[in-house]
Symmetry: D2
């Protein structure tokens, strides 16, 4: 058997009296010593965070836990109505909608920022890169990831706070700068107010913290799994799924009944 | 429309410049102030934890994030092999196996402890209740939730640590006591060493912290979603799914090829 | 290695020029010769159906494909709104709600009928068994699976048709008889009209065709996967998910905005 | 409320004594009259198939039901090991891997064929278009969808059979022609034998039958849901998931135990 054919994982192992996760003794080094967000950092970065990384990464996760009633929480509640005995199925149903439209933009924003700096001509400024990004997206009639919000039109307060925390912890850098410059360039080009939103800020911070594009996608999934458990708990004692079903079915099929 | 027919959620709302989660201003009260585990506590308890609750609840979550290569992480990796573009689908596939066999035992343990104390005759001791629990399960030939472990036969170090942290933070009480007594009674009745395991400890602590049975089930889901992201990231740069597939297919279908 | 430790599947294998499924050459024996319902029968019964079995089994599947707008189709549509690029994720989200409340009743009905005849005293009639079933469920305050329907109060036309087809194809027997007797006994005991519904009829027919309880559960899953694809296709060109979201969010969170 | 804000579905409705699916009375027009494959056609084409369409569409579905032990069936079996009580969750887990790698190629093949003919210069032949397709994919270093197979290197017998059935039923046309020409051109350009595979044939037939790209993706999902139920039934009486888990865990983590 060739070496490449062997199975290998470097995440965790256990023995009679010990569990080791990325080189850390779970019981003696992690439980009671690090918080859940640090453990999430360990899962994706394969090392524990510095205090500064811990502060910013926990804030990024906290930002995305709860969005109220959105399509993914409604999918979870609908699933609960049919399978209340299987909470894991409802959470999974809720996660399945975290695709290109909502959560995908975090990864897309990170990718846009990373690519722009990687292929930037020597001496290019964030402003110049941002103008090029906006121009390219307009020509291709593509949505620019990470900017604009249907509710927080005057600026997404979560993005502002994340950038503040990044500054305070040493993670303000060229990717944050470029993200802000993209929002400004989009405003200048369109006349519309398109502030950096939470996914844009998190995408930029994933770049500053050198976490990679997969983490930019994974953060939303980890955070929403937490929020979905809360929604399913509310649905179980204060349900809305069946009422929504009845209303939707009645309205959407009425035209056929009278055909 | 009757009041019961209206839709109502008490979790979160947002306006032009504000997002409120269970009464807390997300940007000013939560981001940068509470950690991801505290946010998980807020999601399920609908209030922020005390420092003691935060310590124990974060430790419970940290305990369950990572179990190495288990059926649920393998399901996630198999899914990634077919749909690498959809990380949310791989995490969801991994969560779907968190049913009665593995994670369900946390909820079952919590339920067993709660029921026993609720229906206990006045003055009954934990030892007496434990003996009755063990006897009932043996008659019904049912597995007792929360005890025994295939690897950690001399005691699950995670359970010991969780009980230590509970003690240090004021959450040692009659449910922990009963869980330990059940393990002792099972040992006495069967001669087998069946120590309290991590799910038993977490089930007992959910009772001590008054978190309810749904939380006992939800904790494992929240924690594993985090660990699954880490497994999918490893699978994407150091894959094993296709190699496992090839080996399994070859071995399991060979008998038909020669029939 | 012990025999029980080897991996073995008896479903399918392939070679350079051949694919064999449960002993049938896929290309020469199945494609173009059997229909999709027969293939479903082959998957669960591990043999091809007789013409009579084919007629009834196809009808059972056809019955369950489409239920219009129900919680599971709404979960699928909500998922599509977030991840339109991953149709498999939307179908999966829709399937996840096929738990105890809606589809589970097919399996429960089949189980109820099978158990009743297995433990019946010699010479017991369907009427007697039905009365005992109804009495037991009323004492335990449990819902009797397979009877009653919120819309088809005068009798579920699908159940009538399935029983007709069963009769015409030689599958009318004691399980169908008992299912009908249960509906009659429930009517007599409660005064309410509780006719056999589609899940009750399908559960009874799974018993008559000797297909086992897992098939009773699996039929609904296979059929609904087909219907869900149709709903996602409609959602992609005539969407409702975002409109439902907006309405629900507005109504359900308004009370907090004025608090 | 604007017209676009109303909810509307045209799939199905029901009343006291009737269920109507895409204009057909379920009980009187469909049950016992059409097979499961015809019902699948109705779901995606919104009309019943002609006898010729029925023959080819059923064969397309039959082709994709069963692929033996592949990553998606292994994901389903792994899920069953943890949640045997929730068959729907195991089927869903299996479907989640039907993404870009395996099933996605059907849709990609259909798209490639459709685009090529749509943008073809007047008088272009299938051979010319095929050469252009192959050249473009080689320049972009992209895999050409619909050709090549790791096992059926001398030609995928399913593709041959599907094209035969298409010919016999009047669905041989320019898309089938182009798919075959692409395989020939790829062979000429690379020297490798890259015959049309099952997904290429099904993609081409979706174009010939005017079913649209979403159907090309949906066929695989509908068919695999059926096959997955069969795998879960086998897993429940002849399990392999736990044995695979034990082997994988032992091999893949051994290097850490000796570190």
């Amino acid at each position: 058997m060739k070496k490449t054919d062997t199975l290998r994982s470097d995440i965790a192992w256990s023995s009679l009296d010990k569990i080791v996760v990325h080189g850390n003794d779970l019981v003696n080094d992690l439980m009671g010593k690090v918080n859940f967000g640090d453990m999430a950092f360990l899962s994706v970065a394969r090392r524990l965070p510095s205090p500064q990384e811990s502060a910013v990464f926990n804030a990024m996760l906290v930002t995305l836990v709860e969005h109220g009633l959105v399509p993914s929480t409604l999918a979870a509640r609908m699933t609960h109505a049919g399978a209340p005995e299987a909470m894991q199925a409802s959470v999974a149903a809720g996660l399945l909608g975290l695709g290109s439209v909502f959560v995908g933009s975090t990864k897309n924003a990170a990718n846009m920022l990373q690519q722009a700096w990687r292929s930037a001509p020597a001496g290019a400024s964030a402003t110049e890169l941002a103008q090029a990004i906006v121009a390219e997206h307009r020509v291709a009639r593509q949505i620019i990831p990470g900017i604009g919000h249907p509710v927080h039109r005057n600026g997404d307060p979560r993005a502002r706070k994340l950038f503040e925390l990044a500054q305070a912890n040493g993670f303000h850098g060229k990717h944050v700068e470029l993200m802000v410059a993209v929002a400004d360039a989009a405003h200048a080009a369109t006349g519309k107010h398109l502030p950096v939103n939470a996914t844009g800020a998190i995408g930029a911070l994933c770049c500053e913290m050198d976490l990679g594009l997969d983490v930019a996608g994974g953060i939303g999934i980890m955070a929403r799994a937490v929020g979905l458990v809360g929604h399913i708990m509310e649905e179980s004692h204060q349900p809305m799924a069946l009422q929504i079903w009845n209303r939707v079915d009645e309205e959407a099929t009425e035209h056929m009944k009278h055909a």
